[in-house]
Symmetry: C2
Subunit: 379 residues, 2 copies
Amino acid sequence: MENFTGICKVSAGITIKCRTKLLYLRSAALWPYWFETLKFFNTMGYLTKDKLVIVGAAGMIGSNMVQTALMLKLTPNICLYDVFSAEGVAEEMRQSGFDDANILSTTDPAVAFKDAKYIISSGGAPRKEGMTREDLLAGNAKAAQELGDNIKKYCPKVKFVVVIFNPADVTGLVTLVHSGLKPNQVATLAALDSTRLKSALAKHFGVSATEVKKAYTYGGHGEKMAVFASPTTIAGVKLEDIIENGKKVNGKGLNAKQWAELQQDVIQGGAKIIELRRRSSFQSPAYLAVKMIEGAMGGHVFNYPSGVYVDSKKYNHVMMAMPSFIDKNGVNLRPLKGTKAEIASLEASYEHLQNLRDQVIGLGQLPKVEDWKTVNKNL
Amino acid sequence: MENFTGICKVSAGITIKCRTKLLYLRSAALWPYWFETLKFFNTMGYLTKDKLVIVGAAGMIGSNMVQTALMLKLTPNICLYDVFSAEGVAEEMRQSGFDDANILSTTDPAVAFKDAKYIISSGGAPRKEGMTREDLLAGNAKAAQELGDNIKKYCPKVKFVVVIFNPADVTGLVTLVHSGLKPNQVATLAALDSTRLKSALAKHFGVSATEVKKAYTYGGHGEKMAVFASPTTIAGVKLEDIIENGKKVNGKGLNAKQWAELQQDVIQGGAKIIELRRRSSFQSPAYLAVKMIEGAMGGHVFNYPSGVYVDSKKYNHVMMAMPSFIDKNGVNLRPLKGTKAEIASLEASYEHLQNLRDQVIGLGQLPKVEDWKTVNKNL
């Protein structure tokens, strides 16, 4: 197909190629792609025209999210909000040639949030080397409260909000409570632990990450995450069989000690990036957060776990990573399955998140749990 | 089309929609899109499988280029090269879930350049506040010489190289001479001046950048650029008519003084970004450079001017922005047309570039012009 640069050039050899390929057109399996193409024409290539607000747009994560959203053609209506001016970022985007996009930068929340339909917020302080996510708690809980208040005040009809500033499970929860939104309308970035786990397993076994299936972590984002590896397979081989029964993939095994070390590496994944880059990770959280919003906009369904508000008998009144997906209905829970050890690990994570939540209640940035309904009737 | 999230759901209402859309399939105008879709299947969604090397991948521009290239699905084989380790960037990309990509990071040029088919180099020192591009000359000319040598040594069959470190016209020239490549195989980033001009005009008139046509700059990238605005139109109105005859667009005119100021703003565009962001621009050069390589890979043709090697009677033995486009044949010149004033401005720019070239010859990083053929028989 090297010869097709857009328009079918008629020549003997290529005509034959065309005919062969035409048979392809009839395949039912390809219908989704035709519809994607048709959808493209309906929106001039954008997934939606709804207003997307990037909060913290002047920062490293925020500015990357702006570019990512434009490159993925999510919407032409994008607003860059930051307490520091993000005009430099807006100018860079205009100068990149995203000509049909309407790129606005503002430091005024009234302008930023007015009529917003989608929001991604990285609008907290960044994590510095040596800091745990929890160290950031006090300042970022306040930023989350402001975000929730701004949503309630300026865009109560927003469709979906992604919160990614740390500790994300807590800032997402604070945002949800104060925003008045429904639980399926707010999610936090949790996928990074799962992609780190997948990537570490792929590296260990020397296989493509596409060969690592169902490697997910739930619970807290960070040191207290719960690894759910009982359904994980590497190149079709169950990870459990590798760890417990000495099976090998690509000539490589993984014993219990190595597995514990690998999990520890995943837990320290963020710190490792800081060590390697001399700055905290920004490209991976930015990309994944925008992919979450893409799911909510009706694009590719986002299939990694997200931090979601849980309100079951066992886990309730916290936000934490759970088996879930994001589509145009928002964030949707999947059934939770795990071994006894995995569930125990999730329970420990849940307890940790309850403690963090209670700290924030103590700080006055969340009402007492029994009063949440008075602030947000959807809880 | 909101109801189609990938698979056609069979229901009465939607079936009717399907039929309406099917008529679309027959439109000849849509053929290019079907071919794009077919091409997608042939390469698993990537434009090519050829190895792409990002030089300077640990830096702000380099790391953005890696992400941009992966997001644009240029190739799954991407190598991150830097004298500082770019492993942190590679890890971020793996952790972004680009699972089918083969992302390698190395500090060894032999590993990096071996069998490379496409290269983008941002591998120079960045421009600091207050520095002109020329201040960077000495150090970056040396980096360009090394790049050329590495190409000649490790990947003489490379298809296309984009050089973007400043002063790009000179570093591109040094790379070309030492690499042994043909002139149509090396281009430098020059589009940013044109996109800045377009963006500034759009802002002044309060129109979409899509309404600003044929606003290009040629010659040097930076203070000595030559603005070619005689063919420029704003919302269909000739810019000349606005400046000289007082015509208005959107109720706004542009007199000669304002026009001179606007051009000055464009010239200072890079410095303005440094002022706004407290760092030099990185997103726009990264994105545009990757779009140049996309053109060379046979994707969307790159239609902004590039810095190209010129060897005409009038302009020769320098690299400078010229009317050009990049497609799978490399960088191709378009005819140059301009008013007397525009041509005079280009000549001044050309003289400036000759001086820079001669400085580099003086530094010993380029042979004397008459000896170029002994280093590169394609010149």
